[in-house]
Structure formats: structure tokens, C-alpha cells
Symmetry: D2
Subunit: 335 residues, 4 copies
């Protein structure tokens, strides 16, 4: 029998992607948990009802034996629902920023508000399996990483760990995201006529995803310059990362660091030096693609990292975490 997996926020883009992925999963099945009916459902063809639908309450979760709940909700809603779902005996994967930053001080600094669940915050595991796989397997509550930090950390942490990087010179991460990363709620900024044929920078040097990169990579804030941009497209993140490497490094040697680090990883794809992956190569997948270009003479290095913000950047990675938490093969439903 399949494990029943609840999705709160199933009308949003991440939530709908979770439903879509779970409908093809061999060991889990999606159950829609209605929290606030604040948006219209998609029309469905005649005779094709969707997954079962229950209220998002502790009682309903317990009674229907929901084994795991995805919270595809804003941070404040996640802080409210996570304790209830855990109390109902369900594991929880939270896709908001509520449980990613480890301390209430750090949360208050970047999210400009008080954290209401300090104990859960301290216990939550950061769900980037390539670095925290064993902890995820044991965790009742997993904080699914942000989309920008996922692409950044997979590219940056092996560089920092290996010591190849010249930290003093600083690292620049120029990030570009599709519009679905901003969620499904209609706003002027995400209106078609404002976005099409347009491109803009936002949250320059102050994006709240920055602390996730600092925590995982070990960089200090002064060493890391990050700017987000809005691409006129639906899905995908591309980050262009600039740094200086220690003398003697070239494209092949940088690439070998990645290959050593990601040997056996099912969702990281590396490209030959000088070949950078485009968004197309990862859209609608749980993959992260990484390409490298180094000018050995001057020590300048550029790494391009791509993911699908709804895949490895949200719902895909959440399913990967679920697979680890429930003991299924890590790639189940994701290839």
C-alpha cells in the first residue's frame, strides 16, 4: 500500500508540482490538504477527479494516516502547521524559509520578524541531500532549501571545501530566476505585461536567501555578493559565479574537484570545461548542471550552475528528501 502524503498549498506552483510528481511515484500517493481555499482550482476534464482532499487539521492527518506532509506555504503558515502535523505523527518537509536558518537571531535578521517555533527551528535538518543526506534520513522535520541557495551551494561549497578559492578576493553570484519562483499569487511584478520582453535586478546585495549560502558554504557575508534577477520565463535558475582560484588551477583541475565531490550523486551533472549548461538542460528535472571556465593565466574562474526552481529548487528536492525520510530509493519518481 502506498504511503499517503499530504500537500498543503497544492494550488501554488510548488504544491502543484508536488502533486504532479507524486502522481507518478510508485510508493507514495498525494492527498490534498485544504488549508485556505484562496484561489480557484484548475478546471478538470469530465470524469477525471483529482487526488483525495481532506482538511488540513491534526485530526484529519491522524485519522487518514498521513505519513508525511509537505508544507508549500508561506513561512508564517509553516510555523503554525508544522507542530500540528508532527503531533499527528507525520513527518514534515517544509518548503518555506521558516526552518532553514538554525537560530532565531539569524531568522530575525533576514526575515525581519520573530520566529514562533524556536525549538523546531533548532531541530530541523537542512534538506540538501548532497551534503546532509544522513541527517535527512533521521529527521522528523526537514527544511527544504531555497531555490537560489541550492544552485549556489552545489557550485560553491566544493570550491570552498577544497581550498582552491581565493576567499579574500570575494565571490560574486549573479543569479537569474524564472517567474514561477515568485509564487502563484497575482502581483504587478509578476504580471505578464510587466515581465515579457523585460529583465530586471532585485534585492541587490540583500536577498533573504543569502544566509542559506553562508551557512552551508562557510563564506562570510562580506565575501559574498549576490544579486537576483527576474527572467521573462516560467521555470529555471541560472547562476553565474565569479571567483579567483589559487595559482596552478585550470578548468580540468576545478572540474576534478567537482567530480570527486559528486561521484555517484544521481542529480548532479558536470560538463566539459568551457561548456556551460543552459536552463533547457534541467527544466522539469531534479538535476543540477554545473559548467566551468577558468583563465589559468589570470586565475579568474566562472562557474555556471543551473536548476529548475520548481524541481531541484523546490518540489523535486522535496520529493528527494521524502524518499530519504521514508526509506525509498532516493531517485524514485524523479527520473
Amino acid at each position: 500500500m502506498k504511503t499517503r502524503v499530504g500537500i498543503v498549498g497544492f494550488r501554488g506552483y510548488s504544491g502543484a508540482e508536488l502533486v504532479r510528481l507524486l502522481e507518478h511515484h510508485s510508493s507514495a500517493e498525494p492527498w490534498l490538504m485544504e488549508h485556505r481555499a484562496d484561489s480557484a482550482d484548475q478546471p478538470r476534464p469530465r470524469g477525471h477527479a483529482g487526488p483525495p482532499r481532506i482538511p488540513c487539521t491534526q485530526e484529519a492527518a491522524r485519522q487518514e494516516k498521513i505519513g508525511l506532509v509537505f508544507l508549500a506555504t508561506p513561512a508564517d503558515v509553516s510555523m503554525e502547521l508544522a507542530p500540528a502535523m508532527l503531533a499527528a505523527g507525520a513527518l514534515v518537509v517544509d518548503l518555506s524559509g521558516a526552518f532553514r536558518l538554525r537560530t532565531v537571531e539569524n531568522y530575525a535578521k533576514w526575515y525581519k520578524e520573530q520566529h514562533t517555533q524556536p525549538k523546531l527551528l533548532a531541530e530541523a535538518v537542512y534538506g540538501l541531500p548532497e551534503f546532509y543526506r544522513d541527517a535527512v534520513r533521521q529527521a522528523p522535520l526537514v527544511a527544504n532549501p531555497g531555490c537560489y541557495p541550492t544552485a549556489a551551494n552545489l557550485a560553491i561549497r566544493p570550491m570552498v571545501e577544497s581550498g582552491v578559492i581565493d576567499r579574500a578576493a570575494g565571490i560574486v553570484c549573479d543569479a537569474k530566476s524564472g517567474v514561477s519562483g515568485a509564487g502563484r499569487k497575482p502581483t504587478l511584478k509578476t504580471s505578464f505585461c510587466e515581465v515579457t520582453e523585460n529583465f530586471s535586478a532585485y534585492n541587490i546585495l540583500g536577498h533573504r536567501h543569502v544566509p542559506e549560502v553562508l551557512l552551508t558554504s562557510g563564506l562570510e557575508e562580506a565575501q559574498f555578493s549576490f544579486t537576483a534577477h527576474l527572467l521573462p520565463l516560467d521555470r529555471g535558475i541560472l547562476e553565474t559565479i565569479y571567483f579567483r582560484v589559487k595559482p596552478g588551477s585550470d578548468g580540468e583541475s576545478i572540474l576534478r574537484i567537482y567530480e570527486d565531490r559528486y561521484k555517484g550523486e544521481p542529480f548532479v551533472r558536470l560538463y566539459d570545461p568551457g561548456h556551460a549548461p543552459d536552463l533547457r538542460s534541467v527544466q522539469r528535472t531534479n538535476l543540477c548542471g554545473i559548467g566551468v571556465k577558468v583563465d589559468a593565466a589570470t586565475g579568474r574562474a566562472v562557474v555556471v550552475s543551473v536548476i529548475d526552481n520548481l524541481g531541484k529548487g523546490a518540489a523535486g528536492q522535496a520529493i528527494q528528501n521524502m524518499n530519504l525520510m521514508l526509506g525509498y530509493p532516493e531517485t524514485e519518481g524523479l527520473l
Copy 2:
């Protein structure tokens, strides 16, 4: 009587934009000069013939009293045509890279081919009016700047000139361009299905527009990291420029440097600190928009520079140069 202005390469995107702009110019009128009919004309409505059309020869240019010729042609064609048009008594604005790099050595290094007109190369004036206005006024041959270097130089040179920048830490310029920058010739890379919903980096650390930035800004190659990206949109360039500023600088002080430098410049627009212009604010104009964000505590600075690659990045700037060369008001036909 209006000055007759020839356009070679009028079917390309820059050439067509020149025609469009000249059709509204009060002192000049477009004449199409047919060099190679390698592409279909746009269908025209009944009863609406286009501008006059003559062959692109020295004789025709002289006979029709063409006062100035725009070469919206590849570099090799420009090297062939520029001497002929000058010999016919016409001034020349060349939109290719043929005459931008000052020395045959520099040209050979970046364009991987021999320059065939070394004398003209040495005499040509680099047509960035905000820095070389007086020289442009006297020049028979103006090299219209590349699109990427225009956005970069207008943002970077005041920083370098003022000494506010920490050159040792290096400058990163992450550049994104619309597809029209690649020209009208059909290629797989610029096919709709390859571009839509996609985004990619190209020419990482090796773009041939780099030397134009080095020449104008005074930076050395090892200090300047440049990567170009292809946006899924028609027109516009946005460059996000990262550097470190000397202690004591903040957003307002950086902005004052720009304001001092560009006082009275009709085509440079500055924004309040923290507000970065988007592509929409410059599309179909000859404007360059510049926004600044500085983290004074750490000295990290980000400048966003936007232009229309067919406007200030090509045809608009070419008209601006023409106005200077022919003694018209600099903004004529451009507001």
C-alpha cells in the same frame, strides 16, 4: 534640403532601426544602399513605397550626393566598403567591430584575423560621445561602439576615473542581452524554440567586446571578468557590475560621481540609490539608465546599467554620432 544618408545592411536589425529613426529625422533622410540582396524584404502595404534605393558603389554614392553612410555590415564587409565610401566624399559611421580596436595587433588578438585597413583603423574615432564628443565632430570615420561596451563603459569609466574603485579586487561585469544583438541571419542558436523559456551563458571570459571596455575604461584584462548571456527577449542589455569601493563610499557618494560626470548629458539617466532601472525603461530609446547599490559596511558595490542594444547600443548611438558629424543638434531624431 535634407542630407541624404546611406544605409548599407538595411535589412538587418540595426540597419532597419536606422531606417526607422531616419524616417523621423528633420535634417537627414534615409537612402537604402544595396550591397548584397541576401534576405527577403518585409512586405509593404499597397501604395507605400520605401525610401530610395541605390547600389552600394562609390559612383552611386558620389552621384547621388550621399553625405554620410552607415555601414551596418560584418567587419570584413566594412573594411571593404569604408575606403570606397570615404573616397566618394561621404562621412562613414561603421557599426561593425572593424575600426574599434585602434591597432592591428589588438584586432588580430580578439578577432582572429588580419586587419586589411591599418591606416583607417588608426585614424578612426571611437564613437562614444559622452567621452569622445569633440573627436567625433571632426572625424570622417567613426567606429560605433559595441552594445556591451557601451553599457559597460558608461557605468565603469566614471568609477575608474574617480579612483573610488578598488582595482586590485577586480571588477565583474555580468551581461545579459536580447536576441536581436545576434543579428537577423537565421541560426539554430537564435531560433525561437531554442531561445524561448531558455537562458544561457556564452563566450565566458572571452568575448570580443572585452577589449573595447579595456581601452575606454583603462582596466587591465586580468582585472575585468566579463560573461555574456542570451535573454529570451528581443531588445535590451542589462549589465550587473560588481566591484569594491574604497572606505567611506556609499550609494549617494557613488551616485554623485555619476551626476558630476554626466551633468547635461541628454542620454544618461540616473536612479536613486537602491533603485535599478529595468530594460523596459530604455527600450526603443537612445538612453542609458544607471542604478547603484552599495553596502557601505563591507565596501561591496553593484551598478546596474541598461541600454537598448539596437538604440544606444547600435542605431541610436550611430544617429547621435551622425548628428555630431553633420553639425545637427545631438538629440535630433532621438527623443
Copy 3:
């Protein structure tokens, strides 16, 4: 001295286009009339203030000697403001559907609500200059036509007038519009991620623009099938119109009917038989392009009609009406 022209609803797409067009008009100047500040202004570059701004009241309009007011507002707001602006001595061009349908019964049938200004409704002139030019010149209140009906009526009425059409067989008008036609207010339907790479039909056989076509063309409802579709693009309407022609008609004879009807019209462009204009040929203009294909053997005819929904479909046509009402050359500010 320029006539002061007020724009109510200047933050919407039609209103902003009116401001943009008026900033280049030689005899009129835009004044922003603030009715409800329900949306953020665009950021402006330092030192570039916009047009003057006054409250949208009868007193302010009179005091500032506003000569004409554009109402780029919803129908209910237009019904409220039109009498006040007329009482202030201003002419009025209303861009909503409030005054287009001539009778309160017709308005109630299609707009599902009571009309509150029956007298003004009866007096308003329908501002399609190609058919009602003389009336527009005398009118204090002009109802600017809807975008879909403008493209439809310019294509259909000459066919009906000439008698070439087989009305019994019915006329099909398959209409496609860019997203700006839906206005600037954020909605899920006009969110980028819902629109990009998508296409859909809406208001099948029941669009409230239908009665404008019936009134102007003389067709009956049962003879006219109209469906609107949402294109994943910003600006432009293309309508593909199918009907049967009487024996003996071919592409050239149909085209001659249009040429006779539109001789001297500055904003109608006709194409050779078999060549249909695309949206590109009319975007950012006040033009309507018309192309024809007829299969003489079977009497099947197809007419393609294109406009810019913010140009000839809204702000452009409104300026054209203003020019007529204020006695300026009809094409002033529109070429």
C-alpha cells in the same frame, strides 16, 4: 499655448500610452488627474519629474482650464466622472464601454447592469473616425470604441455595405489579443506563468464587444460568431474573419472595395491579395492593416485585420478623436 488635456487612469496601460503619445504632441500637453491612487507609480530617473498632477474634480478641471479629459477608467467610474468633466467645460473621450451601446436596454443586456447616465448615453458619439468623422468633430462626449470592434468593423463594414457578402451563411470572427487588453490590474489570468507558452479561448460567443460590431456593421447577432483568445504577448490584436462572397468575387475585387472605401484614410493599410499583415506591422502605431484571400471557385473568403490594442484599439484612436474634436490635424502626434 498647448491645450491642457487631462488623463484619468494614467497608471493603466491605455492611460500610460495616452501620456506617452501626448508628450510628443505639438498642440496638447498631458495633465495627470488623480482619481484613485490604487497602484504604484513607475520609478522615475533623478531630475525627471513627470507631467503636472491635479485631483480629478470638477473644480480642478475648471480652474486649470483642462480642455479635454480622457477617461481611461472602468465603465462605472466613467459614468460617474463624465458629467462632472463636461460640467467643468471639458470635452470628454471615454475609453470604457460606458457610452458605446446607444440605449440603456442594449447596455443592460451586454453589461448586466443598469446605466446611470441614459441622457449622456443617447448623446455620445461612437468614435470610429473612418465612419463617424463628422459627428466626432461636433461631439462633447465621444465613446472610444473597443479594441476588438475596431479591428472587426474596419474589416467587416465595407463588405456589408458593398453587398458582396453572403449574410445568410454567417460571418465568423476569430479574434486574438495580447494581454495588455485585459488591463494592468494583477489577476491570475494575466499572470506571467499562466500566460507564457499558453493560449486559450475565452468569452466564446458571448463577448461584450459583440454589440459594437452589430451596431456599426449592421449584422444581426445570429449572423455573427465571435470568439476571443488570449495571446502570450503584450500588444496587438489579429482577427481572422471568414465569410462567403457572392459569385464573381475574387481577391482583387474585394480589395478594390476596401480601396474605394478607405481612399485617403491615413490609418488604414491594405496589402496585396494573399498577403496578410502580422502584428509587428502595426504595433506601437495607430494603423489598421487589412489583408484578403479569396477562393473564387468556392466563394470562401478570409480577411485578416490587425491593430495595436493600445494604439488604434485604445489610446491612439482616442488621440485621433481628440484631434478631430479640438480641430487639430487628424494625424498629429500619431505618425
Copy 4:
């Protein structure tokens, strides 16, 4: 052991989609058959080789025991390769127009060239499983239908069969397609800058897909008006079909005709009266979605039919045909 299935033209959009779908098929595996290496391969990540690759010859097909070959090639290439592949013992599904029109006369009329394989043309089965399922099961050579005719026939034939339609009044099919329908070969018409923010009609009343609709639906050419349009998007076809129904018909009764006809069909989805499916609902699937709106008072009816032109309109339907020809479950690899 999986059946080896050859794909000729694997670099084109239909061919690449076949490879993608077959990589997830439980009973068949893709083999790339190299005919003309006229275009660059996509870069692949390190360590991820693609499917096996063999020359497209009779000998190679026989030797490698290729069980079925997809020809995703132009019509002239298909006419050349089909006999060779059949002689090698392989079944053939041809995605071109070469074998769809049954007679050499019909082929010559619409394709303006001689058919070189009249015997195969006469024997080929038209692969629209919803109507010709049993014949497909026995066929050595299946002509995979065109994209436009697939959407049209699934919507129109039940109307004609049931006699509900008023044929004398004619049927209008206004069809809109994404750009991938035009193939991967770069052309000016399919260049990004020509397509984005643009929309146009083409092949008005003369598209070569028309005869496929006539053959399958039983309509006569004079009764059927068809115009194709190019949408600024990658994948998907939406057809808006207008006709008159006999008195007494309404939305529900029309829908019941479809429900009776398509009961048990796995790939046809019907929507409640008044609800028309959009492209999003079928993209990347093998589904056809059909919605209906009828104005019972006037007998006007509109049917909206949507497919993915690379799914049910090409590769998806080709896999569906393959499943039937090889005796696999019809939906294998397609859900």
C-alpha cells in the same frame, strides 16, 4: 529484452521527442539511425552517453534487428527510406506527409510533386488510432497524421458522423500552432526576433494539411475553411472550430455525441459545456482536449480542440501507433 526501435531524424524536434519518450518505455528502446548529420548534437554531460547510434541503412537495420523505424524526416527522404526499412524487416511509422493522402493524384495536388512510391502509398494505413485502430495493428507502414488534422479530425468527425452538423453552412477551422511545428531547421520565419511578441496567419485556405481532414471527416473542400497561424510559443495547437448545428442541439447534447464516440479512449479529454481547454492542459502529453459552446437559440456552435503538436500531433501519436503495431498496451510510455 526490449525491442530496438530506430529513429531517423533524431535531431529534429519530433525525433528528439521520440527519443525522450522511448527512454522511459518499458518494452522498447531507442536507437539513433544516422542519415544525414546536418545539425549539431546537443552537448551531453560528462559520463552520460546517449542511445546507441547506427547508420541508417538496410544492412544495419537488419543486422541490429531493428524492429520498428520512425521516419522523422521530410517527405522525400521518407519515400526513399521507407522501402529500405521495410525490406530490412522493420515496421515503419512515417511522420512526414509522404504516405497520408492515399492516391498519387491527391498527393500531387497538395504537395506539388510526384509521388515515387505509389504502391506503398496505397497500402499505408493512416495512423489515427481513435478511428483506424484495427488497421494500424496489422499495418507494416503507418502514416502518422499531421498535427493540425489530428486536432481537427478528433473534433470534427464525430460531428459529421452524427449528422448534427449543417454541412451546407460550411465549417471554419481557425488553427494556431506553436513554432516547433515548423521544425528545427533555422529560418527567418522561425527566428526568435521575428516570432516573439508577434502573431500571423499563413497558408490561408491552402494548407497541405487540409486534405487529411477531408479524407477522414468526409467533408468536401468547399465546405471547409482552414487558416493556420503561428503562435509565439514552443509547443501546442489550438483549433477553434465554428459550425451550425441542427435545431434542438445544445452544449450537453453535442457533448454526449463526443462522450459516446470516445468512451474508453485513453487520450481524449472532454470538458463541461462552456469550458474550453487551454494549451497548458495538454502540453507534454499525448492528450487531445475538447470543449464545446453552443448558442441553442441561433444554432451557432464553437468547438475548441487542443493537442501538443509534438505529442498527439507527432511523436506521442507515433508511439501510440508503435504500441498498437508491436502489441504493447496502447498507453505504454505515454501517461
